[in-house]
Each structure stands twice: as structure tokens, then as C-alpha cells.
């Protein structure tokens, strides 16, 4: 067991209760039993909230075989270096489905974006299985919404005969 100390888990080694471990636990304690007790404790003290379970069941409505998924290919949160000292930096997102690209910028004021190559489209902001709000789009595929997403969101685009939905994410 001691070979697991040190370099691999330095955070644990720094706790200083190694002595306790050595002194009190005999070699053959029942790990499975203790884990089972933790499982029971978690079921009582920290279960999945009922409302979240319900939302997950309802999420089945988001399963749409006819829609193409536009995958997230750029997320400024992950792919860009933070600007030192800058706060309220817009979140820049790029989604791609085949030849189609959607650039989106999310700020505290709302959301704006552009469909590329430029083309007219109908666009809705989805906020869950039930919530869909259309946003105005110009003929070049530029769109704006002055309502910032308040939780997980996705965009549903209808262009030509296609339905495209961007990957769900948190703003």
C-alpha cells in the first residue's frame, strides 16, 4: 500500500493521518461492507433529487432521429486562454454539422450568432424538453436574442430541408 503514497497522490499524503491508518486498522477489514454502508448513507443523505430524476425522464422527448447534431468544435472556456483581469468575457462557441457552421457568442445580455455559409434559417433557442423560443434571423443567417440562456441550452436550426440541433451545453 505504501507504494501508492507520494508522487501519485500527493494531496492524500499531505493529510498526515497515515499514523492513524497504521495503528487502528487490521489487515482484513471488510471493505465491501463499509462501501455498502456508505451506499445506504448516500441513498438517505444525498439521493438524486426527485425533480432531476423527472427531468431526465422527460429528456427522452429530445431524442430526435430526424435532426442532425451540430457538434461543439470550439469553446472559449476550454480552447482559449483567459484574458488576464478581464471579467464578463463573452463565451464563444462554434458548432459544426457537415458543411454548416454556427458561431455563437453568449454574454450576460443575451446571445448572438451567425450561420455559415450565410443563409436564411429558422432558429429556436431550446431550454429543455418543453422550452423553445424562436429568435429573429436575417437573410445572411445572423441572429440575436436579448435573453441570456438561464441553464442548459441548444439551438435548433431549420434550413432547406434540414433540422440541425447544436449539442446541449451550459452557458
Amino acid at each position: 500500500m505504501n507504494d501508492m503514497n507520494g508522487a501519485r497522490f500527493p494531496d492524500d499524503g499531505a493529510e498526515g493521518d497515515e499514523g492513524v491508518e497504521e495503528a487502528f486498522v487490521d489487515a482484513e477489514f471488510d471493505a465491501g461492507l463499509l462501501e455498502e454502508e456508505l451506499r445506504r448513507a448516500a441513498a438517505v443523505l444525498d439521493p438524486v433529487p426527485a425533480e432531476l430524476r423527472r427531468l431526465a425522464v422527460e429528456a427522452y422527448a429530445l431524442h430526435d432521429l430526424d435532426a442532425k447534431v451540430a457538434e461543439l468544435t470550439f469553446d472559449s472556456l476550454v480552447d482559449a486562454l483567459p484574458v488576464r483581469g478581464a471579467t464578463d468575457v463573452p463565451r464563444m462557441l462554434t458548432f459544426r454539422a457537415g458543411e454548416l457552421t454556427v458561431d455563437v457568442e453568449v454574454t450576460g445580455q443575451g446571445l448572438m450568432g451567425q450561420v455559415l455559409p450565410p443563409q436564411s434559417a429558422r432558429i429556436e433557442v431550446l431550454g429543455g424538453p418543453q422550452a423553445a423560443a424562436p429568435v429573429p434571423v436575417d437573410t445572411l443567417g445572423r441572429f440575436t436574442s436579448d435573453t441570456p440562456p438561464s441553464g442548459p441550452f441548444a439551438l435548433r436550426l431549420r434550413t432547406g430541408g434540414d433540422v440541425i440541433v447544436t449539442e446541449w451545453l451550459r452557458a
Partner: protein, 191 residues
Amino acid sequence: MDRTEVGALVRAAVDGDAAAWKALVEGLSPLVWSVVRAHRLSDADGHEVYQTVWFRFAQHLGRIREPEKAGSWLASTTRHECLKVIKALARLMPTDDPQVLDRVSEDRTPEQTVIDSEEAAAESERIRRLWQEFEELGERCRQLLRVLMATPPPSYVEASAALGIAVGSIGPLRQRCLRRLRARLDARGAV
């Protein structure tokens, strides 16, 4: 949850079987929730991550290449979304104080209230002490055990996806963390 069972449920859900989807939620939402809790997000952030993961799972349902590995897909997606939240918070608040992220709800669950109201006060106290010692374990142990205590128990492959730890390390690390927890409990004469 058994992998062949998960695979069959995913395929049935793709084919339009809403009951299969519900069974997937019943079987795998505790895993998703455990991964969220392992990362100590605030309630609001945790709830949003949980929803995002299930919305995305529904969205990708027909495209998941290995349906029997849906548990690992969920665990890994949850982990990545949690890390994004932590990253966004770190940008807003340049601090490495973990307390800032540690805003676990003080609300008592209905189950907890039932326990309090019944004669099972001693049992309740025992569980609370166990939980308290668990919460005070080192971060790495606390994370691993929080994931492993999901119901039904996740596989090591799922735990690996949830935590970004090699599958081969899960078993030894689990043993070590449970031993440490046992030692803490013994030292306090609890349980």
C-alpha cells in the same frame, strides 16, 4: 447496472421505447448524480450539469457507438461538464480555496426528515457520523468513494471514466480509501 442490460435498453430507447429510457434513468441517474457530487459543485451548477448530461445523452442516443458502454459515456460526459464549471468559476474568482466551490446544500432531504421523526435516531446518528468522516477524507478519496457509492454500484470502468483515473488504479485506491475511512471511524469510536 449490467452492461448487456444497458446496451439492450439503449437500443430499445433508440427504437422508441419510452419505458426503456425510463429504466436507463432509474439505473444510471444515481451514477451521474454521484459524479456531480464528487466534484462539489454548488446545487445550482450541479443541477444544470445533471440536466445538460441527460439532454445530451437523449440527443446522442442513436449515435452512441457502443450502447453497452452508455454508463461510461454518461460518467465521462458528467466529469467534463463538471470540470468546465470549475474552470469557469476559477476564471471569475481567482482563488484556489476549495471552500469557495464547496457550497453543498444544508437542506434536509425528505428521507432524512423521516429518519429524524422515527425511533431510528441512533441509526440516523450513526449514518451522520459515517457521512461526516467520509466528507472529511482527502479530496481524492472523497471523490472516488462518492462515485463508487452510487446505487447500483458503478463498474470500475465507469468509475474510471467519472474520475479520469486509470481502471487498474481504482481497486487499490478504493481499498486504501475505505481503510482510511475505517481508521477514522475507529479512532473516534464510531460505527
